[in-house]
Symmetry: C3
Subunit: 446 residues, 3 copies
């Protein structure tokens, strides 16, 4: 750390056991088996590809060791990035790396070290301990079984993107029918089927419903007759329906529509399903995580999970009807861009049911976290701030990502609270604990 | 302060007598009578409500002491905020509070102290002196009398939201007729009636005309024939007219319109009235304060004055026609979001008649003031920068709000001007005085 | 500098010879002849005018000395700005000025000093040496001859605004015909004529094609039949065509259009020409500099080159089709506002062919450069970052503008890389060299 006070605060923050409220961990394979599992994380494949690496090393048939060599071989082109820092910290913390900089020459040594370390029988337990991790939220498709793992440790969370945005795809409707025994053909069957999903998830200990949304999605309530018609049309799966259902056109239609009557069947169905999920959240007392702002498949030839971007022209004003209609539902909101942070601050300051949630994706580097966090701490009640989530695919990432956040948080607490004499060090750590742990427990009832 | 230089600059800035160019002070009741007057300020009711307080304590029949207990009882949930800091400073400066943190246990003591202090016969004078306040601008409805107070101290300012946006309401048209003796039925009568208002305000020492505008308002000039038709229609007060005249629908119609002919009568009338006011500002040589960006009643069940938010998708480009058409009118512009600050900087850099004005509402915390102010100081002529206004409802708020601003200003002057050797300390204080006082005097001709 | 580390880094960065990848230098008159050449730079005429100077001193018949007096006479009103600092640095570095502040009293002395200094026979050489400038890119109209100057030192660059946005003007079509011997009447002749331009520029050592674009331009591919029709219509030069071809209307049409079929002929022609230029960039292996976000002639009565502004509501999402269609073309992208920087960071992080390029125009002050640069350094591969360009009209400006950038860069390297222990000082200087020089060489193949 750059000064003693910040260093002391950081150390104190690192002692607080973590509850990580959003990740993509597979509870059946939570830790890495090889260095390939780490470097296959899309942040690295994206940056290596963006910096000039072809996609050849990412092919399924390429041996993991060669892929690792290729990606580390390109790291010299992006060793300035925060993402590189996470990997360096993983190498140091978990793999015994002692150097200051990673080069192509380190690839084989690290690969071998990872083979040894990651395959220890108690590796998962070790990672939990080193990370001081208590529990971590998952992202579960609606038809996942949620059996054979400890749901206190790996907390289920119902992810609903496919229900809202892909119900026009036959495979999604089939899966929904298999999972619930209900063929969705109209509003009533849709409501029954999704209600069953909520009941099952709730019984399994789910603590949230979640969805990611394109920048121009505008949820509106749809009368049942209209919703029926939309679902009938969607179920027909016509080519035209498909054509307007992905990306730009879909978005444009939804945004430009003042009443659902003018929307395409797909857009109307999306709105109706979304609204129904909010109703279930109310009934089942589950927070509804909204992750707002992602356009899918913008870079069409991007690496796996490296194709999504955004359009800064979006507003929480689009969610006015939703936030007003569901005062009983808690909406932890993630925004994709720092430019939306002031809206998130203001909407959270005014709406009791809107809460700022973490620092998502393209905003998950200190250059954005620092100002966004400072703004939230100056204007939103501290009991409403969910500080951070890892968004991790493998447990090894929780530590370096949270450390980045804790360093930034320590700096903000030092500069904005302790140095101006507003808080004592102890009070500042207490505020940090609220953001890192207490609020997660209270808001998600963990 | 966190360092000596900043501390010295802050002290010097605090010596400069203030002219506060925008507030909501009631000149007949400028100071608080009880702590309830302080805590009823919407910032506190909003934050308490947003942090979980029901609206029951805000009822008219609730005794003030109980309301104060309820709000202070919730402060522990938002003692991280800047707004809390203002209140703590009020408690310390005016009420003899000596603690570091306010808790529910302090409510009764503070309430009693406020009863004693605020009811001293010379309290208003004391607040003026402690605040080093010379004069403060008001926000006056068009039919206020402006008599029986010292208009040198409480400077009248004609607020015009109701004329522009609510002329379709019978009560507004009646009040306008009562105030002017003119029934507004067309462009000519509208022009006459509003001219009379300007003449009366000018005679009473008014120094500005002001309005707050939704994010998608786009002022355009309307030919008289069209303006006539719009006013005829508006005067009919049809239900349809009302339906499109508040909030979203209105805004959408105005924005999407390339020519006024396509607008609804209400939108066309709003544009016509607005343009007429700008013409009067030219004739009466009054600056026209534009406060750009607020959507009214977004959180429908919010506390009083705690329902308004915004849509970041707005641009000063919408004001191109206005700024070009009225080179003789000075437009002090406030924007609601930090995201609009770069436009405000650039438009002020280019247009002689556009000036950045203070830090409004959701941008009125140091996390936004600091970058916004730094940007303005680096790229806009210093003679055009109106540093700050309190927006206060009671005089006791002027001091803590200006102190927050002066602390931030001192920090920027230290880091951007004195430390890099660009300005001496004396020169930096001179620059601060420009922003705090000289420009207000020159621009508003006080 | 405010601390030793930053000072040391700054000194080291100043030793790196510069290749300036974008300017408006006239290779036949690269240096100033009088102080009037310096102060006629639109930044000064804009700020003086914005601060209250009439446009009378800018008239062609006004003697240069008087114009200089007028502008320096108004500098006291904007001596807080970064632009003033550039001029002060020019006066100190090149004209022997030793004071701390410029006043009207300095005008004549500086004017005389400039006469002496600027008219030395080797002045151009001296400026190159003092600036450690190796070469500088030009901005050339398509029909410039590119003869009689050293194209290694003054690197040609094909500017294409007039081809894309003004082909409806007879004079532009005539000039194109004169330059290529081809009358453009349809897609095929347009393709041939512009191909000839590329061939000539490439032969003369051009290293880039460049264009500035309005905030709502959305490039789409147009089928040839459609392009033919658009060019036929444009060639007719009808008054209606002109009416929709400048500013707002044009922009609105382009943006609101989901398919080129709905566009006006002018908008369709612009899209078609633009796409053709991208095809030529691919064939001739030239980077295509996109400078995104400027609205021309917003302040209609502004000073020369001081009429342009922007609309923050713009998105790189508008360029999705282009970036996907031309993976072989490198697009160095400049954005006009700091608000667009996160998109630029994210699109550069994901798309291999998108690169952040400098800090343009209204974002070219430290208050914007600092956060924008920090964000880029934390999330974009370092090999893709083109740090800065001067945008200079006269060579004397390269030094103070690059110094401003180097000071900011030194601060970011110190605070984000050296102090947290991520980079050694030497490594940090190496990173700075990448941004200042290495990447320019590699990306533009200098």
């Amino acid at each position: 750390m750059t000064d003693n006070l910040t260093g002391d605060l950081y150390t104190a923050l690192c002692d607080i056991p973590l509850i990580d409220p959003h990740s993509h961990i597979d509870p059946y394979a939570p830790v890495s088996r090889s260095l390939d599992d780490i470097l296959n994380y899309h942040y690295y494949t994206e940056l290596a590809h963006s910096a000039g690496m072809s996609q050849a090393p990412l092919g399924k048939d390429v041996p993991p060791r060669e892929r690792v060599r290729a990606i580390i071989g390109h790291m010299g082109r992006f060793d300035n990035t925060t993402q590189y820092s996470w990997f360096l910290e993983i190498a140091r913390t978990f793999l015994g790396f002692t150097g200051d900089r990673l080069t192509a020459a380190d690839a084989d040594g690290l690969f071998d070290a990872a083979e040894r370390v990651f395959n220890q029988p108690d590796w998962e337990k070790q990672v939990f301990e080193k990370t001081k991790l208590e529990s971590i939220f998952l992202t579960n498709e609606f038809d996942e079984l949620l059996t054979d793992f400890d749901t206190k440790k790996y907390v289920p969370c119902l992810r609903t993107d496919s229900l809202v945005f892909h119900l026009d795809k036959p495979r999604i409707r089939e899966r929904l029918a298999e999972a619930t025994g209900i063929d969705v053909v109209d509003a009533q069957t849709l409501r029954k089927a999704t209600w069953k999903l909520f009941a099952r998830f709730k019984a399994k200990g789910a603590k949230a419903c979640a969805i990611s949304l394109p920048p121009d999605f505008t949820p509106l309530h749809i009368p049942d007759a209209e919703f029926d018609r939309a679902l009938h049309a969607v179920a027909k799966d016509s080519p035209i329906a498909k054509a307007v259902f992905g990306g730009v056109q879909f978005a444009r239609i939804v945004t430009g529509t003042s009443s659902p009557q003018d929307a395409t069947p797909q857009a109307a169905a999306a709105m109706g399903v979304f609204w129904t999920l909010a109703e279930h959240c109310r009934e089942f007392e589950l927070p509804f995580d909204l992750m707002i702002g992602v356009n899918r498949r913008v870079y069409e030839n991007g690496v796996y999970q490296g194709q999504d971007l955004f359009d800064q022209r979006t507003s929480l004003h689009q969610y006015k009807a939703l936030f007003n209609a569901f005062p009983e539902v808690t909406f932890p909101v993630s925004v994709l861009t720092s430019g939306q942070n002031q809206e998130l601050v203001a909407y959270s300051w005014i709406f009791p049911n809107v809460l700022p949630n973490g620092h998502w994706w393209y905003s998950n580097v200190p250059a954005y976290i620092r100002p966004d966090l400072t703004e939230r701490l100056q204007a939103v009640p501290k009991t409403k701030l969910i500080g951070y989530y890892s968004d991790a695919y493998k447990l090894e990432f929780v530590l370096p990502k949270y450390n980045m956040y804790r360093r930034t948080l320590a700096g903000v607490l030092a500069d904005e609270f302790v140095r101006p004499g507003r808080f004592t060090e102890t009070e500042a750590v207490g505020l940090g604990k609220r953001l890192l742990r207490d609020n997660v427990r209270e808001i998600f009832k963990v």
